[in-house]
Symmetry: C2
Subunit: 249 residues, 2 copies
């Protein structure tokens, strides 16, 4: 277990070999063993293998090759549709058309996703999360025909790895952990926490290629810009609303 | 690994034995190996062991006994504060005061939390998630002195178990998995998916104790009511805004 966690790498190149049905079933069942609010299981997992649908998802996910290459695409959705239907057909009056319920369902979906990721890796499969899920939620809703009270929150691609990348660097533990309560960062703290990352050979190369002065500028100017963030914020909030998660409020 | 996932139970009674420092360190480090958006690690983990602070957290978390009993309380926060400070001190212009960035950071925090949960269980520790974190986020922000761009999204209590509950029931896999795209539920589907849960001895007892006709009514009338959901939706949205995550929009 611990071994699987510490060996995690995101895999971006996949072999064409399919994932055996019994393996996929065990991996998905592992997802359902994650903690879930009040045992409501307010999430759904859409397993897409169909080539034509995968092509549409690939387009939605900024045409990242791994979406086409990996044999299986798993879209994890916050889902109060099933639970609400159950309530309605059991003479109960559901009240889950609100932001809190959306977020509760998103937590459920994300904990299940991480169980699926680790179970897949334990079986020798590779995985990669697609952050583009929230950016392109509206398109994904259309492609997967997600009904009201269902919103995609993350995606995993999985299959057998066709690359073996090294371990990614991480900040030192003290950089993300606080004792007892939050201790805000001084400039000295930030210098110390980011020193190793900034000194990496990989960072130097990135600065040269991107013609930037600091690694932080590559994030703010190229990778995660304010303009994009604001644009996709509006888009994601619109989907949450369109899918009915603000109607009660 | 798979074994640990399939053995998961939420533990609500704890021994007083402390968690050894080296174990806690490995468990937290396991959290940092989870996938993180663009390797930004936009989360923080607040490790609370101090009895006085734990008492305040216990009050915030609806006075659930396990918060006082468990020797360690871990609050997982969406955190763009550290990253933003790094950008500002590196002549970069961060743009993370928006809803998308909050949600991205929440995903990071939740994937790290599930790694921590599994690593803890692998070490023989018990864990329990506290859903009250989002309900009471404002109070938790005060207790833990969370600065701007930091919002608590979930909490884990951990320690050595003083109970060994049975495995919790789950819906059949077909109840939460969809092939290729979402196939909405018919009344027949719902009847089939919930049949086992509704037939449990535990369910019959709950109906008797609560004097209700259906299990769904216990959820809508007692456990997760529309009134509470709407109230805590407003409160949580207010915290997200107050912590600065809507300023760019």
């Amino acid at each position: 277990m611990i071994q699987t966690i510490f060996n995690h790498r995101s895999i971006r190149k996949y072999k064409t070999d399919p994932v055996p049905e019994n393996v996929l079933e065990q991996v998905l069942t592992a997802g359902t063993r994650a903690s879930t609010t009040g045992n409501m299981q307010v999430y759904s997992i859409v397993v897409t293998k169909d080539q034509a649908l995968k092509k549409q998802l690939w387009e939605a996910h900024f045409k990242q090759d791994m979406v086409l290459q990996a044999p299986v695409v798993l879209t994890f959705c916050a889902d109060f549709n099933r639970f609400t239907k159950w309530c309605e057909w059991r003479r109960a009056h559901p009240g889950y058309r609100n932001f809190l319920s959306f977020f509760t369902a998103a937590i459920d979906a994300l904990l299940a996703a991480q169980n699926v990721a680790l179970a897949a890796e334990d079986h020798g499969l590779g995985i990669c999360y697609l952050g583009t899920t929230t950016y392109m939620a509206e398109k994904i809703v259309d492609i997967l025909k997600l009904p009201e009270l269902v919103v995609p929150v993350t995606t995993l691609v999985t299959g057998y790895p066709d690359e073996s990348p090294g371990l990614t660097d991480r900040l030192p533990l003290e950089g993300v952990v606080h004792q007892d309560r939050y201790h805000d960062y001084t400039r000295k703290d930030i210098d110390r926490i980011y020193a190793e990352k900034e000194a990496l050979e990989e960072t130097r190369e990135l600065l040269k290629i991107n013609n930037k002065e600091t690694l932080a500028q590559i994030f703010t100017d190229n990778r995660y810009t304010k303009k994009d963030n604001v644009f996709f914020s509006k888009a994601f909030l619109k989907v949450i609303e369109k899918q009915g998660f603000r109607k009660d409020e």
